[in-house]
Chain length 382, copies 4
């Protein structure tokens, strides 16, 4: 890349990427460990003509970005666990009304106010199931700042492509850690812009009539078309409907537009997966320690490999099954009680080969923790 | 039972049971299809000396019952999907601070405002994972009013026994359907009362120091002891702590007190499970149709059986594995896209034998729907 | 049993049993944690007409008991790791010359002087292979004082039956712990007395000509027959021989007399082995914690079982394979780096199912240690 | 090589190599079949300024070399089975105190005094487990004099690199057989010299504080630093400690410094392993016959191969699994009752494919013996 080289926090990498991706509206309510995102946005966004709003709480924040997105803006908010819990109702509205937006959850220890300044990966299943009712969601994560940049741009691109909220699941360690980031030059990374309707003023615009490819062109709210947006099940005009075939059709559309594009939205990295007898699977900050173990132990003859997931939802089950098929042991490395573990177990052929290497005490899982657990599951004791 | 016979809605059965169980504080914000619960509470509770509060929203509602519970009351709130989403932050606080309370979610179609007057079972996974951070939860359901009564009393009993919020997952069909209910005579059903500390005034009370059996005696807030209650990780005095061993210990306590008592909190019914070649598994209103199919087809020689789950969380995996071990086909009957299906697949030995019979269009899944699906999975086509 | 009830250390239980078994010669050099054995012998043995010798070191000790045994005495010495290392040459002599004797090793932490006052089970493989050259050995252990009594009597009985040294592998925890012991009444437990030759004075006695059943009748040294005893390979007169067929025959005799009687010398206890999905295998003090875990977790629905080995050598491979054949997980619980683990892995059909729960820091492996390891190998993380 | 060509016994090859490696202190007590080593040392060592001590027994011998090593000398002793048994306690001390030394065991038939002038490979397992307590050890062997030279130099190099005793397991056949040896020119083979501390006089030297690479620099005893050396578990100053974390840390260090460098210390030769349908595995003198069979039968179309192990401990399990993975039959050729056989069985995927070709009557296993056994396991009878 020919871009600018910086030494930044993960939260900053996220901000840089959002600005790069074309963000022009941010509303938020600061909460540790996501606060630096709001802080930098307050400084950077107005300078480039965008809008920064500090809201009174997290519910207001997500509602603000939903409204702004409808008017044609690229939008984001950032929070941590307690705020993310408060956003679940608004998030469901954005899913139902198909409104592009990016929600960053810089995870800290939970439940409740939990551990404000300590890392965790405890919100993974909430990102999937925090909203009531059947639905699908895209949730991304990364383990280093260059990848935080990439997946943040992906988040905006996926959000526009599929007209859906996208969750960025960072964590305290990534958010606050400093390392090198090379910001790409403008144009170097492809950006997906809002798909706007070609229907002209005065002609009937059907806001929820999918094109042949399934995509829904938007019309800026307050612009030339008047139309209805609702959280109720609705027809192609956006008007509420309880007709079973309409309800069924809309729900399948909301789920299929994401689940059927699982390959397009799956991001991952792999290290020595082919030759691995013991395959580590990890993501986010935990994947840093997992990678360290692999790099450190392979030269000593241990056939370790790492599959680092960057897309957590929709869960890339086919990918995981494929990559894990030759491994004798599969070790899920995560900083919770086994939230992705369950998805991995469901994906692979022999769930009894899958083990959990974890920490749930607010401390980053260290390479030594992983190695100790590897010893135990290899039957070698302490 | 020697009790009073009534012809009631499921929502009323829930109210009767809550009053029977000793409820004396209810706060809520009405939402279809749970509104009758608040309505009846407004009428009945003050008469028996209890408190009914109509709150300004669902967040206020759950916070009100948490506070009241701390002062020694048995408490409940009731809502539906959108309101349940808003309650997730408060729910997490109750989990962390170990405050007994019962939350009723009379499910309607979602996500978002969805289908206010139509049934669904779409909030099952949200009941498990709507709160951020690792945690455990108890969630109960039932398919008829007598069982709604029983599991509502269970909900209060479990809540007091384990100092934990308990979710009652009813659904619109159950909530609004009328059928016979026999209210037991007082004393006929065992009730668990608040475990209060025996520590006297002026002596140090440790609000979060478990007894040998793991239980935590409470002291009414505003009473003789002053102590700290927080959503942060905390020590035995209730004061915040980030010490890894304290954090790890508290989190394991919160999870183990429920997961290790899975047998005590598992409620289910079974019909011809032993002889079933095709085992239906279902719960809530869907289980009514499943039972109808079993009762209707068995006389014709079809080896069908039904396992009706009343405890959905913690998921009774051992029970399901045991009951399903002889079945050739397992058919999960539910009104969502397969939320309990995943847990069943993880529980059984051969997940490829598990099929899904469902509807997601707001209509009750009918016996004919199930029979059509049975034909298909038995290879008989439509 | 109608015997005397006492509250004793494990070392005392061993002394009581040795006296019960007919011990009348003890030579030793005190070393922690075996010292109480020598101490009590010094007090008790002379009173019953036996001989106690405090020797200058462990080499002298084993040589003294070998000599005494040849004169017709039932003999024992007791030591710990460092002393047991010094005894290996003498032990090999006793094996080759087929001299009945019992050697107690009250294990402490090793290697070298290691941890004199802390428990360990680190000498298990040394008991098998500390002597140079091919050979077989009997080594017994126990986890409670009643069983220490039984296997000590067994040790003398096996020693006489097979004309072989027998190792008693106690450990510091068992040796120093006090618990109840009921000493059987005389005659209640069967004793094997020395098999003496019926060859009369003046007639040729062949000290190494086996009877049809493989046993070798002895003649008290210094008595009516003169014969040769040597550590060299030897013929039926006891004279050295390098003839390949003599060498081969003697070596096979020394090994087969033990390996072919493996069922006769196998002692074990089992708890819920048949129904166990997770089978613990343990011995000695570690088995106490393993049993505690089984008894504590089974009522909560965990299908645990325990196979407690009392005979470690010859390793009862058939027994272990049979008992382990239905278990999903096999967890070896021992206080070393996995010494019996290897034998268990070799014995069972699927070695990859075998895990190690251990401690190697001088502390008794506690039930909590085992439970934490069970969580990890069941894939449940910390 | 440009070195000197000689026609020597294996024992002499060992002496030449020790001198080449920089040996300057030898203490021993002669025993057949190792006697020539002491004899030649007595002659050669003083001439080059080194020290030869004939000790009163084997215990004194190993203690003498341990002490000399601490003062900065490169040291060796040589013995056979009975003497090796007597050295086990001293050997454990050298392991615990991390003192470089080389112990040669020229194996003869055992147990006990056994067969002084006949070959055997019966001490292999004693080399691993003769010392009480958990520990690791390096043991090397060779089948011809050029390799005896090489692995003797390796023994000194490994001993210095890892601060550990190294066992040279020769056998009577190798020790007494004469064949060609080309002694390399000085400098031709790399030598590892003692790693000495750079800590100066008057500054605190921590004798047991590992460098980042795990190595422990030494300070010559009697030199500028005073420090403690003990066989007890000890801290970084060498002072005794019973702290569980110190004990655990030291024990893992003692084992890991060897087990984690298994690739660095593995020496082997292979002949036609890739194409072998029947893979012989052997070592020492037995490998000569195995090689003869391979070379003799391959031209006749028999797909035989040979893996000759020179490092027996730590057992190169990964190497053996890898080399054996394509073979239909694996035949372990050794002169004992199957001591390496067990390690091979544990290492390979299908232990049922592993057979034993052995002799235990003091005679070298001959090519004809191996060929007879090959016929039998190929189902061709005698």
């Amino acid at each position: 890349m020919g871009g600018e080289l910086r030494f930044v926090q993960g939260n900053e990498a996220c901000v840089e990427a959002a600005l790069y991706a074309g963000l022009d509206f941010f509303a938020g309510y600061p909460i540790t460990p996501s606060t630096e995102i709001a802080e930098m946005m307050a400084e950077r966004l107005p300078r480039k003509g965008g809008t920064f709003l500090q809201m009174e709480d997290e519910i207001a924040s997500i509602c603000a970005i939903i409204g702004a997105s409808l008017t044609g803006r690229k939008v984001m908010t950032a929070t941590s666990g307690p705020g993310f819990s408060l956003m679940q109702e608004g998030l469901g509205y954005a899913i139902m009304a198909e409104i592009p937006c990016v929600i960053v959850d810089v995870q800290r220890g939970g439940p409740s106010t939990g551990l404000p300044t300590k890392g965790s990966q405890g919100d993974v299943n909430q990102a999937r199931w925090g909203v009531h009712g059947d639905h699908a969601i895209i949730a991304l994560t990364a383990s280093n700042h260059q990848d935080v940049f990439s997946i943040t741009v992906d988040a905006f691109n996926f959000s526009e492509t599929f007209r859906t909220p996208v969750i960025l699941l960072l964590d305290e360690v990534i958010g606050h850690m400093r390392e090198k980031l090379e910001v790409p030059a403008p144009g170097e990374v492809a950006l997906v812009e809002r798909l706007k309707t070609s229907v002209r003023e005065g002609v009937d615009y059907h806001p929820y009539l999918p094109r042949e490819d399934g995509r829904l062109p938007m019309s800026d709210f307050g612009g030339v078309h008047r139309y209805n947006v609702t959280g109720l099940f609705h027809d192609m005009w956006g008007f509420p409907s309880e007709k079973p075939e309409v309800v069924h059709g809309l729900l399948r559309h909301l789920v299929d537009k994401i689940e059927n594009h699982i390959k397009d939205v799956t991001r991952y990295r792999e290290y020595f997966v082919e030759e691995a007898e013991t395959l580590l699977i990890s993501y986010g900050s935990a994947a840093r320690s997992a990678l360290h173990v692999v790099m450190n132990r392979r030269p000593r003859g241990e056939p370790l490999g790492l599959l680092e997931l960057q897309t957590l939802w929709p869960f890339p089950a086919e990918l995981v099954r494929e990559k894990a098929k030759n491994a004798r042991h599969i070790v899920m490395v995560e900083m919770n009680m086994g939230q992705v573990l369950q998805s991995v177990k469901s994906a692979v052929d022999r769930p009894d080969r899958v083990f959990l290497a974890n920490r749930v005490d607010g401390m980053l899982i260290a390479p030594a923790d992983i190695q100790n657990i590897l010893r135990l599951i290899q039957g070698k004791g302490v």
